[in-house]
Amino acid sequence: MTSVIIIVAIALILSILYLIFRIGVLSNVMKGRYQKIVGTSNTVNSFLFIVVFVTGILAFYLSFMSAREHFLPEAASAHGVRTDLLFWVIMAVLTLAFLITHAVLYFFPFMYRFKEGNKAYFYPDNHTIERIWTIVPAIIMAGFVVYGYKEWSAITSPAPQGSEVIEVMGKQFAWQVRYPGADGKLGKYHYRKIDAINEFGIDFNDSASFDDFVPMELHLPKGKNVHLQIRSRDVIHSVFLPHFRVKMDAVPGMPTTFWFTPTISTAEMREITKNPEFNYELACTEVCGRGHYAMRFLVIVDEPADYEKWKASQKTWASLNAEYVATKAPKALQDLYLKEFLPSAGVVDTTIAAPIADTAKVAAVSTHDAHR
């Protein structure tokens, strides 16, 4: 990297010095009426185009090669592999177009610089040429559209049956995730039910809410389809999973979704990147205020078996906050889902459990129940 910088800097400084050297900058600014002389500067300027082009292309090549190591590693999702290919295919065509047009653009000024006695070639138009360079880009664009459309419609097609549904909610300034639990169904929510404890606004009139759980990390099963249900509760955020090539805005009042298939587990990615510390991450890409740059959430891709094990080990949110839920849920649902987690009637615990209550307390509560 540094070597590239040095090369570029040297090229820059040299060309500047050369120019300054040839300039008696302000000495004759005030002298007399202006008369146009096409002098040596004209040749110098035309020559500099060639210099800039050659050093520029060299710098392009070297800097690209050295920057590459910092690019994101290979896509860890099924569609990501394909959109990466799409990106690089288009970029290859664009780079070619860039090189050709710039070679010409920088070479012509040099070739056709002013020469005493020359006369420019009067050439106002040529319909054949113009038709060609209208049609050729049009054909290339049509190719891109078809290719892009194919990928885009595959990515945005409805999620396949049986996808793992996971809710991701953005707030200032953190992500939270909710899993549907054993019934595979996320409980309803309403923004007016949100408070300091119930950050999701989960609606406990819905029986599907009771087995939902809210972990501190986003676990994804390798090789299975994951269907993210995305929302926000304050301003717009945007779910960005860079390694999975996933991005979707989280909009208050308008839930969005994105489905994809993780293909590389965290453990495998650690091997690929030769970085034992490697972790997938979830970031925010829609400016959302002071902490926009700090909305990091840990993502872990498990082998399917580990994923199931992990899921089974998670305590439901309702069980961890049973006393709170008891104040919200109708009696019938309480009896059905909460009884075992609540202290016996009459004993009123005034301290309300934190969103993620410590297990010790929960354990204590359950033993208490068992004694009854």
Partner: protein, 607 residues
């Protein structure tokens, strides 16, 4: 309008045009002037001042990005409480980015560019004594000034200026609870923009009416210089799109102040659930980008017009494909209205709509490519003179091509999923819109400075300015593509919190250094500009041997532009190096009857 001085002969015009102003009170001459040339200069100087401010803001946040660990206590005298413990406040970072974007897009490259050159060149190049309404034109500038004052004040208030990005998406921009800048700062932003749009509309209506009605005899639409075509189309785009921004702004003002719910729904913030239900934040984005995308063409089309003129003049060749150039501008302008949602591929909008917008977006690449090729073909077999204006024009072509190319990959919705809101986008739009338009503006200043001030700018300083800026722009923005491909999100105060974005620290430092150098290099221009205004070499009548009408006015044209009758036009503006002609240029005022040696068979004067 202003039929001033029609009896003077052009020989003594120079001596007499000083008298023109004597019947006007001082304040009408130098402050509330109605002379399009003076208003243009007012716009230009305002634009330069704003550009310095906007550039300074970018240097401040580049320091943060390039040197995240630096102790910034030394900035405390400038930024006061925004520096805490030697660190830039993250909220103020967002405010800097927001104001930088707003200033550059609207105040520099819309008002500063169109305001300067449409005002200056339209009457001069079509052969009119002034704008259709000098009064509206004056009001237009002073509304812009008012808007500038309001926006400027917002930089100094305690809660800071608007900080939700230049696109001010609600709910962030609607709720002071969400970010401090959405308090008074945002109110001032919105008020300033309403004045700004009013100013732009008055300007735009004036440009359009003037071009349609006040062309001199013989100046048909197919004899208009491409500059005028560009300004004309730009004004139309502005007239059609800016009102939509005002409507969005008004609805946002209602949501902020009067409890409506156009853009707000189901929000829990600051420990309370707000009453808003049923609004749509995405609706705002549609309205915003319905202006926002045409806006990028409002910014770039005048620059394309200016440079077409300059490239033809200094290649000593007709612009290649004059009609195709016009057609491309019109096509781009039309298409610019139906591609806005390519900024919104990942907002959750209907995927089918996404494909439609991808299709329409990629169509724009075709007329854009045609323009690029035509520029290059104009250089081919020219006899090129590298004035600073010419250098900046070639620079523009380079940016327009390289930045336009990356737009093609961004316009592809599937590829945009990963690239959206990363530094790849920042790189793309800075090259194609920011730098290209900036170069067009600089080219215009270098080229028409003699007409504006009767003196020449120093060429050598112009060359240094060009090469430093040209190379510097690529050093700043080219590496941003890499950073974007690596996924770095934009509007990030710092990336070190993420493992994925923890790299590229040296490259970011490099970019920041380049940005500081480029910023510093602009002072070469500013010195040259103000110094030459008073001390530059006196210009000749037609220093670039150009064909267009403005060079037939006296060196310092007075009010009314031509001391005598307005010249008639007999030919298109691109008769450079015509076979058979003695000189390598034939001004538009020369009748065919005077050039039998170079006329093509179909070229005869109409009677």
């Amino acid at each position: 309008m202003s039929a001033v001085n029609t009896s003077h002969s052009s020989a003594d015009a120079h001596a007499h045009d000083e008298h023109d102003h004597h019947d006007l009170p001082w304040i009408r001459q130098y402050v509330f002037s109605e002379d399009h040339k003076y208003i243009a200069k007012q716009y230009l100087v305002s634009g330069i001042i704003w550009a310095i401010i906007g550039g300074l803001l970018s240097v401040l946040f580049r320091i943060q990005l390039g040197f995240p660990d630096a102790d910034l206590t030394w900035l405390k005298p400038l930024l006061g409480e925004w520096i805490q413990n030697g660190k830039l406040d993250p909220e103020f970072y967002l405010a800097l980015v927001t104001m930088h974007g707003t200033i550059m897009v609207f105040f520099v490259l819309t008002a500063g560019l169109s305001g300067t050159f449409s005002n200056f060149l339209i009457p001069l190049q079509i052969g009119a004594r002034d704008m259709a309404s000098g009064f509206l034109n004056m009001i237009s500038y002073w509304l812009f000034f008012l808007s500038s004052v309001v926006m400027m004040i917002s930089l100094f208030i305690k809660t800071g200026p608007a900080s939700g990005g230049w696109v001010i998406y609600p709910p962030l921009s609607a709720l002071p609870q969400a970010v401090n800048g959405s308090g008074l700062g945002m109110t001032l932003w919105l008020v300033a923009m309403v004045f700004f749009v009013a100013s732009t509309l008055m300007g735009g209506l004036n440009y359009v009416t003037t071009v349609i009605n006040l062309r001199t005899k013989g100046m048909t639409f197919t004899r208009l210089p491409l500059t005028i075509w560009a300004f004309f189309i730009t004004a139309i785009i502005g007239i059609l799109s800016f009102p939509v921004l005002v409507s969005a702004v008004l609805l946002l003002i209602f949501d902020r102040g009067f409890g409506t719910s156009f853009f707000l729904s189901e929000i829990y913030i600051g420990g309370e659930a707000l009453h808003h239900e049923g609004g749509s934040p995405v609706l705002f984005q549609h309205l915003f980008w319905f202006l926002g995308h045409p806006e990028v063409y409002i910014v770039v089309i005048p620059a394309l017009g200016i440079t077409s003129e300059i490239v033809a003049t200094n290649s000593r060749k007709p612009i290649f494909g004059y009609k195709a150039m016009i057609f491309s501008i019109v096509a781009i302008a039309f298409l610019s209205f139906i591609v806005w949602a390519h900024h919104m591929f990942v907002t959750g909008m209907n995927p089918f709509l996404g494909s439609i917008f991808m299709f329409l977006t990629l169509i724009i690449a075709v007329p854009s490519a045609v323009k690029g090729f035509n520029y290059i073909a104009t250089l081919w077999k020219g006899n090129i003179i590298f004035t600073p204006a010419m250098l900046f024009s070639i620079g523009l072509v380079s940016f327009f091509l390289s930045g336009g190319l990356t737009g093609i990959v961004l316009g592809n919705s599937a590829a945009d999923i990963q690239l959206h809101d990363t530094y790849f986008v920042v790189a793309h739009f800075h090259i194609v819109m920011g730098s290209a338009s900036f170069f067009g503006m600089l080219a215009g200043v270098y080229h028409w400075f003699p007409k504006m001030f009767g003196r020449m700018m120093d060429e050598k300083l112009g060359y240094i300015h060009f090469w430093l800026t040209f190379i510097g722009v690529y050093l700043i923005f080219f590496p941003m593509h890499y950073i974007g491909i690596a996924g770095f999100p934009r509007r990030y105060y710092s990336w070190t919190g993420f493992d994925a974005f923890n790299t590229f620290t040296d490259l970011n430092e490099f970019i920041s250094i380049a940005a500081i150098i480029v910023f510093a290099a602009q002072f070469i221009f500013i010195f040259n500009f103000f110094y030459s205004m008073f001390r530059g070499r006196v210009s000749t009548l037609n220093p670039w041997k150009s064909n267009t009408l403005e060079w037939t006015t006296p060196i310092n044209p007075g009010h009314g532009n031509w001391p005598g009758a307005i010249p008639h036009v007999y030919r298109w503006p691109y008769d450079y190096s015509k076979p058979g002609a003695a000189d390598d240029f034939i001004p538009q005022t020369v009748p065919f009857s005077a050039t039998p040696e170079s006329n093509f068979p179909h070229e005869k004067d109409e009677h």
